[in-house]
Assembly symmetry: C2
Homo-oligomer: 208 residues x 2
DNA sequence: GCTTTATCGGACTATTTAGTCCACTTTATC
DNA sequence: GATAAAGTGGACTAAATAGTCCGATAAAGC
């Protein structure tokens, strides 16, 4: 993703790369807990212990930094989900995936929501490039879910006439909507209930 | 809801009430399309044609104004949903409700999301009072959905052992998650798919 | 009418925040 | 080691923005 760095063709020394990473890491954390707009560049500077000129040396401005954060969060989420879903081929495996997400969100009482989803709702109506990047990430994530569903079909645990893509969309919506309700209620229960309903539906398709 | 007005015990003349309404209406519109944080008080002033002293005369500050906007949006959404859901007692009625929401959102290519959901994700990590107000509104909205489901149970269209409350939570999550995915993709399809899956699940419970 | 209170306009202040600039240091390359 | 480019610190600027204040008008209550 080249949009995030303001100096594409430039040499980047190990020292520079390290600073850039520090900036993005600090911005990622801050924007997750405080929100994008509430996180000021000075906040990022203070948290990363970097000077202002460095930030503008590595990024064209706040929007570019936000896009770098999106890339960073996206990479981490996709990697996490690839590990969690890449080889799942049973309903039970899908339930274990659910348990992991719910328990991890329960630790914070659902307070911060989904790392990607929070970014999406905050950034969508401000920066079209960022919105598109997030859209691609959601698509990729959904693709991982669709892969699981197709493996279920291969093993006969899900009828072949079911649309894996549509079910994946529904499952992702349940997950994201659940995150949002949990965040608003400061209670993880609605998230768990929502995913459970989606999984129950998928499971029920093979029992008819 | 008394938290929104800074002068609770005070007299409020018809003129004053009108001004207050104008302010809230303008703020509601702006915050829906621009987002809460991106909407400045000067924006609200310009859009409502009101002076700054008036805004501070009626509200303690921006947070109080946001809470008034939440009350306003909440009232309108709940009233709309009460009209749309209050007497629904069939699956077909539920599908008509779905069609209305999807079509209305399709007009804007899903660009702005759910009026309540957008507020929720933006405000939750900043103002606890606002978050709680939104949480109550979601609960009330879900209650309307649960009412429909209970009427389905009364008429035998849904088995009595199903939990109307949990299904309502799942349906609301599908709706909100769908709104969010549609907003990110600028395409209403994922929202339609997500609600359809939730409705298919509800429908399937009576066919087993 | 008279008094009080609500309503109003808009200039003003203080602060925050994104973004600029320049002198200086480190690192890579030949 | 000389030179150029990357990296760095931090003061500075310009603009945006929340919030204050005061003088004035309109409305209400007696």
């Amino acid at each position: 993703m080249t949009t995030a760095d303001s100096h594409n063709g430039r040499r980047l020394t190990a020292r520079g790369a390290k600073t850039r990473t520090r900036i993005v890491a600090a911005a990622t954390d801050l924007m997750y807990v405080k929100g994008v707009r509430a996180t000021t560049l000075d906040d990022v500077l203070a948290a990363s212990g970097v000077s202002k000129s460095q930030l503008y040396h590595h990024f064209d401005g706040k929007d570019a930094l936000v896009r770098a954060v999106i890339d960073n969060v996206g990479e981490r989420v996709i990697e996490r989900e690839r590990d969690a879903l890449g080889h799942v081929s049973t309903i039970r495996g899908l339930r274990r995936w659910r348990d992991t997400l719910v328990q991890s969100n329960a630790l914070r009482h659902g307070a911060y929501g989904c790392a990607l989803g929070s970014l999406a709702s905050e950034v969508s109506d401000h920066d079209a490039l960022a919105r598109q990047a997030l859209s691609r990430l959601f698509t990729e994530w959904q693709g991982l879910l669709a892969g699981v569903l197709r493996r279920l079909q291969d093993s006969g645990a899900l009828p072949p006439e079911a649309s894996a893509d549509q079910l994946a969309t529904g499952l992702m919506a349940a997950l994201q909507g659940g995150y949002m309700l949990a965040q608003t209620a400061h209670d993880v229960t609605p998230m768990a209930t929502a995913i459970d309903m989606a999984l129950a539906h998928i499971e029920s398709l093979s029992e008819r």
